[in-house]
Amino acid sequence: MNPSISLFRSLLREAKKVDNYNFRLYAIRRVKLGFQINRNLAGNEADLALREGQENLDILRRQVVLGSLYPSAPSVMENAV
């Protein structure tokens, strides 16, 4: 299995769990952007980018836990009529 595809999927899954609407949408957008920026990397640079992505996944996991401890009020965007 391709490690970058796997990282992309894990990052997106984690990003969707963020409690706050604005942070959640930013996280999803930023994950996609990061992979677009680095899509043509190869060799050592690609390995470095993957490691950075893995660190960001850990950060995201911690932020999901923190966000769920202090939930915010739902945004008007979430209460679609």
Binding site: M1, N2, I5, S6, F8, R9, L12, R13, K32, F35, Q36, R39
Partner: protein
């Protein structure tokens, strides 16, 4: 005497009905729902196909006119590998399931997705 016996039977029946109701209340379900809740439900493949095609058509990076029941994400719809991950995740959201990585990697066309979802007992 006869009528008092009848009354006892009636009141006993009422009491047992009430206790059944109490059990149902505690479980927070209607008695009639209990049987349905645990039945495994496979979705009808035709319905699955229709819903998957709608999901893929709504995906902003592919041309809705090109989407058909046998489209391949990369070859026919012009998506890259990252886009196909997003499509598969959109399908997961639609059917309220989570597809493990190994199986998600194998879904490369609408046909594959229909086959997987139609065989998935938890898909809604």
């Amino acid at each position: 005497m006869f009528s008092s016996a009848a009354r006892t039977i009636v009141s006993r029946a009422a009491a047992s009905a009430a206790s059944r109701g109490a059990v149902a209340n505690r479980l927070n379900v209607q008695p009639s729902m209990m049987a349905v809740r645990f039945a495994s439900t496979f979705l009808n493949p035709a319905e699955v196909q229709e819903r998957i095609i709608t999901v893929v058509k709504n995906f902003d990076k592919c041309d809705p006119a090109k989407v058909s029941s046998d489209s391949k994400f990369v070859d026919d719809l012009g998506l890259d590998s990252l886009d196909s991950v997003e499509v598969v995740m959109a399908i997961e959201d639609e059917f309220a399931i989570e597809i493990p990585d190994a199986e998600a990697d194998r879904i490369a066309s609408i046909g594959d997705a229909v086959e997987y979802i139609a065989a998935h007992p938890m898909a809604k």
